[in-house]
């Protein structure tokens, strides 16, 4: 019978905390980056111009239909050769995960916008609003409310996806866990602690999203 001993982890607390800090900041950065990419792609999808629609759709499908781990590695090893630019592991990770998230955000944002009754933009037009003003003042504020739960669900996935950056030696929670496991010869305790840390953050968040979903169904 294996003798569990979590007390040895105490020595590695700062390493874990550093890793957690990197994971959380990475998540926030790729959520922000992903939302920018997603909004741009969604507006492209809704454009009057066929070329813009095609480019957006192509972008979205490429990132939805390839594994995110492959995208990460591709951005780090292949893109620098193609574009002739140096990529640090952090830049490559930010780029890949923002584009990956953006591809999914785009579909959510587009869906939220088209779910608003056509009568709303007609009324706005009839009052003399330009399409841009109507989008900003009438359509987006209503659409955003409907988008919040699915955007949060997607962001939760993004939080988990950050664990992949450890393959590029970005010192996130998983990477630091690996270091601690090698050093302590206690992989069972270390990886259990890593899993528990993810769970402790994500479980309350999923409960919150579920509560928001139920509340928005009621109104």
């Amino acid at each position: 019978m294996y003798q569990w001993d979590f007390s040895i982890l105490w020595d590695y607390r700062w390493i874990f905390l550093q890793g957690l800090g990197v994971t959380v900041s990475f998540t926030l950065a790729i959520i922000a980056g992903g939302l920018v990419v997603g909004l741009a792609a969604a507006i492209g999808l809704l454009s009057r111009f066929a070329v813009l629609r095609g480019v957006s759709l192509g972008f979205i499908e490429i990132f939805r239909c390839t594994p995110v781990l492959v995208q990460l590695i591709w951005c780090y090893y292949a893109l620098p050769m193609l574009a002739g630019v140096e990529m640090t592991p952090v830049t490559a990770s930010l780029l890949a995960l923002s584009c990956y998230g953006g591809a999914f955000y785009a579909e959510i944002i587009r869906g939220g916008i088209v779910s608003i009754d056509a009568g709303q933009s007609e009324a706005a037009s009839a009052l003399g609003m330009t399409p841009a003003l109507a989008m900003r003042r009438i359509i987006l504020p209503q659409a955003l409310r409907r988008m919040v739960p699915p955007l949060m669900n997607q962001s939760i996935l993004q939080f988990k996806n950050t664990s992949l950056v450890s393959v590029l030696a970005v010192p996130d929670l998983v990477y630091q866990g690996q270091m601690a496991a090698h050093d302590s010869f206690r992989p069972l305790e270390t990886y259990t602690a890593v899993a528990a840390a993810y769970f402790a953050i994500l479980f309350p968040l999923t409960l919150f999203v579920r509560w928001r979903e139920r509340r928005s169904e009621e109104t």
């Binding site: 009754d117 009324a123 409310r145």
Partner: protein, 258 residues
């Protein structure tokens, strides 16, 4: 040409197709300043499309539209107007929809002052004064801070009228403004429209309320299959229609005593 000089709305040679479907076929129509025109006709005859062409919510394929002193010419050789001139044109015509289309994320007053502030660029205080006076006109000043969802259908439609009036438009267009209402709520909206007509507003009204058309409109235009079939003084067209199509259409209503 005296009619077209005093006309507030002047439409000549208007055509519109949706794909292969020709919905408006050479429409000519004038509405004099302060005039009230009722647009009648069976469902699918093109009434809504014609009304939407009057504020360019639908852009025609051919023809000429003048409202006030702004003229737009349409045709294969003329360029489609840009979003800015279109928006400016629409800001001077008010439109009321069957389904109200109030903005649910705003209060009643915010609905009314939204376009005055962001389109006419009035300062907030002026817009609120204007908005409150329009809400008073439709009898809903005491509902200013409520959400539209808390109002009855009749109240919603009166807010929609106040919202359109707050742009101080030169014409008001009504597309079946009472068709979505419970019967007991129709009266309050018709009364508001009647008051507006009495105040001298130029109005085009698509309606199935034949009695209202006869009593409030001064002219009736009867449409079928994308054509204006018959046009004339309201009492005359409704009481003694000349065309077979008009007679057939009106007979459906006379059966159910109006």
């Amino acid at each position: 040409m005296t009619t077209s000089q005093t006309a507030m709305i002047d439409i000549t040679g208007l055509r519109k197709s949706f794909g292969p479907l020709e919905v408006l076929k050479d429409i000519n129509l004038q509405v004099k300043a302060g005039g009230v025109v009722a647009l009648l006709g069976p469902s699918g005859s093109g009434k809504s499309t014609l009304l939407r062409c009057m504020n360019l919510l639908v852009v025609p394929d051919a023809g000429r539209i003048r409202v006030g002193d702004t003229t737009f010419q349409f045709g294969a050789s003329t360029e489609r107007p840009g979003t800015k001139p279109l928006a400016a044109f629409r800001s001077r015509t008010g439109m009321v929809f069957q389904n109200f289309n109030l903005f649910p994320h705003m209060t009643v007053l915010e609905n009314v002052i939204e376009a005055p502030i962001h389109v006419r660029r009035l300062d907030r205080k002026t817009a609120i004064d204007l908005g409150m006076s329009q809400l008073e006109k439709v009898g809903l000043a005491d509902r200013a801070s409520q959400r539209p969802q808390t109002l009855s259908g009749g109240q919603k439609q009166r807010v929609a009228i106040a919202r359109a009036l707050a742009m101080e438009p030169s014409v008001m267009l009504f597309d079946e403004a009472t068709s979505a209402l419970d019967p007991e709520l129709v009266g309050e909206v018709l009364q508001t429209m009647q008051q507006l007509a009495a105040d001298g507003m130029t109005m085009v009204i698509v309606t199935h309320e034949i009695a209202f058309a006869r009593d409030v409109a001064d002219r009736v235009v009867f449409m079928r299959d994308g054509y204006v079939v018959e046009e004339g003084p309201a009492g005359e067209v409704i009481n003694t229609p000349r065309m077979e199509a008009t007679k057939t259409f009106l007979s459906h209503f006379h059966k159910g005593a109006i």
